[in-house]
């Protein structure tokens, strides 16, 4: 615990480019991995499936958006549309009788094909205009979903997902579904953590910082923009499919509307652009805090003997959600990941803060 940089010396490139350069970081990560693995034993199935599971799946989805917005610097306000493509194609594939393993893959691939369409907007414009274009594309996708009964599943506009199954074994227990979500989130997290160590990750960062400058350095910025959109859409599509398969159990257009796009972007920005651990925090805050605050207000009103309007209570989560975004951006525009980083850097060298980088 004491001065955790002690004894950490790298004298080869291989050790320098390890995923965790400091054992303390690695141990912390392993601790949380173990915590995730034994979570079904620690918490009841209500908490497991209504808080932990959506948190993990949304984290996977938000990490995908972080790839394109945080790493490659391309604004994306149509991410929910991409998730919808993945979710609907996977569910349709599964209903058609294709095993879920391949249905998820089909969902991911079709999402990345549609997501690459968004990339063509990114080749032409960037910044604000890209955000507006992707927003408009989201509206087009919403419209297509709600206006084509063949996709959205008839007059009720909801599509029942077949029971999730792996290797022919149907998975219905709460714990089983939790492990599905957990392993998908783990896969995406490991991918995102390793991105820093790959040529792809460095190229994406170069494109983010300045695409012209990246082009001068020999990084084909068009190519990497398309790769970023396609990869993030694949992650988003599979996450959407996993979300429907393990949490919603049916797909409806409202689950992937423009407000959801904004929500995922809020998760990424509150968490911190380009920060993996921050995304976990950001998703937790945006997903869970409004409900918690609402509970506190409702209890507080009862305790103080105040009579609160039902409508007031119904809109407090929205107000809290907005206020959270504003406060985080005011306090630390780089997000919760940066706040965590500050605390970590301080504790890393703790009694000797003169070594602070």
């Amino acid at each position: 615990m004491f001065y955790r940089l002690s004894g950490v010396h790298h004298n080869s490139y291989v050790s320098e480019s390890r995923l965790y350069r400091i054992p303390a970081d690695r141990n912390l990560a392993l601790f949380f991995l173990a915590l995730g693995l034994v979570a079904p034993l620690l918490v009841g199935s209500l908490y497991l499936n209504s808080y932990l599971l959506p948190w993990l799946v949304w984290t996977a989805a938000a990490l995908g958006l972080n790839l394109v917005t945080g790493w490659a610097g391309q604004l994306h306000l149509g991410y929910a549309a991409v998730m919808a493509v993945g979710a609907y194609s996977a569910v349709h594939a599964a209903k058609f009788g294709i095993p879920w393993e391949f249905a998820l893959l089909i969902g991911g691939i079709s999402a990345s094909v549609v997501g690459s369409l968004f990339a063509f907007a990114a080749l032409r414009v960037k910044g604000l205009y890209l955000a507006l274009t992707t927003l408009a594309m989201q509206f087009v996708m919403d419209w297509v979903l709600t206006h084509s009964p063949a996709i959205s599943g008839g007059s009720h506009a909801s599509l029942q997902a077949p029971t999730f199954a792996l290797l022919g074994q149907p998975i219905t227990s709460d714990i089983g579904l939790y492990y599905i979500a957990f392993s998908w989130c783990l896969l995406v997290t490991v991918f995102m953590l390793n991105l820093r160590r790959t040529g792809l990750g460095r190229a994406l960062v170069a494109v983010r910082e300045k695409d012209y400058a990246a082009a001068i350095l020999g990084v084909n910025s068009f190519y990497y923009k398309i790769v970023a959109f396609a990869t993030s859409s694949f992650i988003g599509g599979v996450s959407g499919a996993v979300l429907v398969a393990t949490f919603f159990f049916l797909a409806a257009p409202e689950q992937f509307s423009v407000t959801v796009s904004i929500q995922v972007l809020a998760m990424v920005i509150v968490g911190g652009l380009g920060s993996t651990i921050g995304t976990f925090f950001g998703v937790a805050l945006i997903l869970l805090a409004p409900g918690v605050v609402n509970g506190i207000v409702a209890k507080g009103a009862i305790a103080l003997g105040l009579q609160l309007n039902v409508e007031t209570l119904a809109h407090i989560p929205t107000a809290t959600y907005g206020a959270l975004i504003i406060i985080i951006l005011m306090v630390e525009p780089l997000g919760l990941g940066k706040l965590y980083g500050n605390i970590r850097d301080y504790l890393m060298v703790w009694p000797f803060d003169q070594l602070k980088r």
Partner: protein
């Protein structure tokens, strides 16, 4: 389709389009001064309408007192938003500024509904709903009033930009570094533009609130307002007015022809398509400035 129907669709399209311009002028004012895309204009519009309602209905003030009072309240409120939230984000990447305005939008929507409830309320401007016939063409009075307000605001802003204060704002819009160096307070100018945009939001909130009722749907004007602003060029007020007219006609006539084929609801589709096409073909809009980027 016969010509009279087409003419009616077009005339009503122009009027509706001017109402979109009324909304979009607020966006343009802020973008002009600070290059901030104000995605919270929908929330501001909603807040403006609710403030008018609170003053007129809940406190019983007559409308001619309530509306100017609401404009003052919202002016201060808009400047406050800029001072508290936006100023410290100056120079940050656009994604954070976008998110901040989205956060403000969500917050305003949640707070207004938490305070005043979500049921749709009417402003009761006292404009009659009797249809007005101009020749053979049927026109709605409230749309006519709204269009008049939009044109009035446009004229006011054209005149305003010729005053000393307006020239300062124009200088800031042109080059804020240069403005700083000649002693213009850029911060105060940007704050002023937020205040003015909030007043525009009050007027848009009243007119749109009278047409479709004061409720959450007011904040959905954002997509249409954005499309108008982008088509006109994000920093041109004249562009916003003209683009509103063009878009109103396209939307009204287009949806009348398209709706039978696609089963209704093609308005949003047309808006989104126009937005995508504008950005793809001419990102700086009809009258906007093209930016030159340095590596």
């Amino acid at each position: 389709m016969d010509l009279i129907l087409l003419a009616e669709l077009a005339v009503n399209g122009v009027l509706t389009g001017l109402l979109y311009s009324l909304f979009a002028i607020g966006l343009v004012l802020i973008y002009k001064a600070s290059s901030v895309p104000n995605l919270s204009q929908g929330g501001l519009t909603m807040a403006g309408a609710y403030v008018v309602l609170a003053l007129a209905h809940d406190m019983g003030l007559p409308l001619w007192v309530a509306i100017p009072l609401a404009a003052v309240v919202m002016f201060v409120f808009g400047m406050g938003i800029e001072r508290v939230a936006l100023r410290r984000l100056a120079g940050r990447p656009v994604v954070m500024i976008l998110m901040m305005t989205l956060g403000i939008d969500i917050f305003l929507r949640g707070t207004t509904l938490a305070i005043w409830g979500g049921t749709s309320r009417s402003v009761d401007l006292g404009v009659s709903y009797e249809p007005l016939f101009v020749g053979d063409i049927l026109v709605s009075r409230i749309h006519l009033l709204g269009a008049a307000v939009a044109i009035l605001l446009f004229v006011v802003f054209v005149l305003f930009f010729r005053t000393r204060l307006g020239i300062r704002l124009r200088a800031i819009a042109d080059d804020y570094m240069a403005s700083w160096s000649v002693g213009i307070s850029v911060e105060r100018g940007v704050g002023l533009s937020w205040g003015l945009a909030s007043i525009v939001a009050v007027s848009a909130g009243i007119i749109w609130g009278e047409i479709q009722g004061v409720d959450q749907s007011l904040s959905l004007l954002l997509l249409k307002g954005l499309t108008v602003a982008v088509l006109g060029g994000l920093d041109s007020i004249f562009g916003a007015v003209l683009a509103g007219i063009i878009l109103g006609i396209i939307e009204n006539v287009g949806s009348a022809y398209l709706d039978p084929f696609v089963g209704g609801g093609s308005r949003d589709l047309i808006m989104a398509a126009v937005l995508i096409l504008t950005v793809m073909l001419r990102p700086h809009g009809l009258f906007g400035r093209t930016d030159i980027e340095r590596v």
